[in-house]
């Protein structure tokens, strides 16, 4: 059977020490047996490594940051679509998801398909709403309060024992041991990520993660649990191994069933010494370690593309246990022309 030709647009080509999922998403998509993928790389910065990786993207376009406004971003996508006829778009950054979710119908009317969670799903899993999420769906979550101002630190009294985690609503987390450190973390985080700043109970245990894909009807199309084996100073996995843990899988399937989750997701969990799992975060997109799932037998990018195109995808249940990934850094020698082209023309 001839392969179906698809033009796929992907963001997140920043394969740095804080890697975006774009490059592994493309690798997975290109390994599809049924799809022939032409890749349009969408970048924010002209030094995103994915721009310079040979054979990765067929075309590259620079797009404006979502902070410059949804309209500007979507108009740029429409302009690129006129040239390249994008079939499927996979956004890979938390910060851009809102713009793409809000404009899902507008893009779809023009033939650009996405497969994203709904705004409601996206918002109810936000870090500052985790206690409500836990209660609504029957999931254990650490106790937390939101700080809208520095004076609210007094609200912590009697509610938490140190250490506690201080988190930004989008990114950044610090473990702190006293009130002075809470203040320092509050100022650092609020300056960068705005308010509220979240104070979260510290759950002692092992961090484990699950990558999953929901079909939007309550079915889990793919799910692979992983434990980070090597963590960078930014808290990113530099190595990991797939696990056999039915309890984690059951929890994942339950969350997807109850939320009717649509799209890729990553569950961040802490397993305490009694074997209980606490949900500390849901990332509403494919994580950067997605290629481990592909290597273990579940091609999540391929499945997501098919779902975006309205095709039927059967749930993948098997994966190889004890499969590992190890990241590496690699110096590419590139010509100035590519850098000049993306800098000057905003496309290659």
């Amino acid at each position: 059977m001839p392969k179906q030709k698809i033009t796929l647009a992907v963001t997140g080509l920043n394969n740095t020490d804080n890697p975006g999922p774009g490059v592994p998403v493309i690798r997975g998509a290109k390994e599809s047996e049924g799809l022939e993928i032409r890749v349009i790389g969408l970048v924010y910065e002209n030094l995103e490594p994915g721009i310079y990786m040979d054979g990765l993207c067929d075309r590259i376009f620079q797009i404006p940051y979502p902070s410059s406004g949804s309209e500007e971003l979507i108009e740029r996508i429409e302009e690129i679509h006129k040239q390249e006829k994008i079939d499927v778009l996979i956004p890979n950054f938390d910060a851009e998801l809102f713009s793409f979710m809000k404009n899902e119908q507008r893009l779809s009317d023009q033939g650009v398909h996405t497969f994203l969670p709904s705004l409601k799903q996206f918002q109810e899993r936000e870090k500052d709403k985790l206690p409500e999420f836990g209660e609504k769906y029957g999931v254990k979550v650490p106790a937390s309060i939101n700080l809208g101002s520095i004076s609210q630190i007094s609200d912590m009294e009697g509610k938490f024992d140190y250490p506690v985690m201080i988190k930004g609503q989008f990114y950044d987390a610090y473990q702190v041991n006293n009130e002075e450190q809470v203040k320092q973390a509050f100022f650092k985080i609020s300056a960068k990520w705005g308010l509220p700043v979240i104070v979260q109970e510290f759950v002692k245990g092992t961090e484990v993660n699950v990558i999953a894909l929901g079909d939007g009807k309550g079915n889990t199309i793919a799910a692979v649990p992983m434990r980070k084996q090597y963590i960078t100073d930014k808290g990113k996995a530099w190595g990991g191994v797939t696990l056999a843990d039915e309890k984690m899988m059951g929890l994942t399937r339950m969350i997807i069933r109850k939320t009717k989750w649509k799209g890729g997701m990553e569950l961040e969990l802490i397993k305490n010494s009694s074997g209980e799992y606490y949900l500390i975060e849901i990332n509403p997109r494919i994580p950067a370690w997605v290629y481990l799932a592909v290597g273990a037998g579940q091609n999540i990018p391929e499945a997501l593309i098919k779902l975006a195109l309205g095709q039927d995808v059967k749930p993948m249940e098997a994966y190889e246990i004890g499969k590992m990934f190890v990241r590496y850094s690699y110096d590419m020698i590139v010509d100035l022309e590519k850098f000049a082209a993306i800098s000057m023309n905003k496309e290659i």
Binding site: T206, M226, R227, G240, L243, A244, D245, K271, I321, G322
Partner: protein
């Protein structure tokens, strides 16, 4: 005392817990002990095997064996049904 089903043991002494992702290295003697445990042998028959093969006295063997078992339990490599087992 049983080796839990998520434990995978390689011939070279690499032990992997597929539920937690932990991995351990055991030396050839540790591997031999793990094999006896996996074969469901009780301590008396393990003791007979070891005393017949190695130059060790019964008391030292017993002490080292329990120490090894405590480590296996701590790292969730074995599950102990009856707490009086091996006592």
């Amino acid at each position: 005392m049983k080796i839990t089903e998520e434990i995978k043991i390689s011939d070279n002494g690499f032990v992997f817990n597929s539920k937690t992702g932990d991995s351990f290295n055991v030396n050839p003697f540790g591997l031999e002990l793990l094999k006896y445990i996996a074969e469901d042998k009780d301590f008396d028959s393990i003791k007979d095997e070891i005393l017949g093969k190695y130059d060790v006295d019964s008391l030292t063997l017993e002490k080292d064996f329990y120490e090894f078992c405590a480590l296996l339990k701590h790292h969730q490599i074995v599950a102990q049904g009856d707490p009086m087992e091996f006592k």
